[in-house]
Symmetry: D3
Subunit: 69 residues, 6 copies
């Protein structure tokens, strides 16, 4: 499947915190940069996500803001 979301960044899952409905998944994408995602707990289980698994952070470009110092 190819998707319109423009951002797809590869990394390794380093932690998963599960709630009843949502779970927090933290991905190490290298150079000490961590990306935090909150997805449904159902998705975590159906995708078989675990610490150490390779995964992509996928982000629609309209959800990315820009900030400057």
């Amino acid at each position: 499947m190819r998707i319109s979301a423009r951002n797809s960044i590869n990394g390794t899952i380093i932690s998963i915190t599960k709630g009843v409905v949502n779970s927090e998944v933290v991905l190490d994408i290298g150079d000490g940069i961590l990306v935090t995602s909150i997805i449904s707990t159902h998705a975590v289980e159906s995708l078989g996500l675990k610490e150490g698994v390779q995964a992509f952070a996928v982000i629609k470009s309209s959800e990315v803001m820009i900030a400057v110092d």
Copy 2:
């Protein structure tokens, strides 16, 4: 200002495409990884964004999806 959005990734602006209402801003965050953002053209102008400027891609964690091969 400190914000609740959990993801803030530093990079260099490499291109800006301006529409009437929205603009596409592409950030090089290193290691050949590009992050594409779509923000309002008003914001591009008020933040003084230009190619070569250092900026952060800021993303609320609930907007980050996870994908696996």
Copy 3:
């Protein structure tokens, strides 16, 4: 690629309206139900989207609201 977004609805593209940065894509998912998407014009072109093409509307569950009469 399998993605955490929980909603993936199959349909046929019936119209595409292109702007400089964003494009509006309308999908017929059957039973007279149309789903409208706004994605980047770049994505429309890189995915080769055209009228008549089969495609999926993919929606993260946290972006779906519920309304009642």
Copy 4:
């Protein structure tokens, strides 16, 4: 109230999973298509949502992505 969100799909609630802050609501919109929504538990209660109730999945078009095989 008429709202700018372009997508409003009618269905029947078939399950509700409640967390402290968020709840997952699954809607059957016909033809075996399920739409999953995550909204606040407060909203589930104030709208009186229950299994079997008719409801609409409402989605802003800029939150709909497109994917192709």
Copy 5:
């Protein structure tokens, strides 16, 4: 129609900037506070939005971030 989005703030439309696909609508919600929305141009036209019209800014709570100085 009652919707799960928790934020609905009343105001007066003070400007509309139309693009091909998206339009920027600015609402004065009182006390000098302006709220800017970007919605589809189709929605602006189908809702008959014009300067001076009373309207609501409607925002899903999961789209609201919190910042502190």
Copy 6:
């Protein structure tokens, strides 16, 4: 830090409801208007958010819908 999100509304935190992953934060922005935000519990703790604290509701304009009666 200056951010591209166009909406930044000042208020006082009047309640925080913490879940495992997400927390609901309600802000009083004056004139009896409450703004509800759902952010990660981690962010609530790292920003030191508490009842009575001054904070800003920050919202990307593409997340603001418009409704009319």
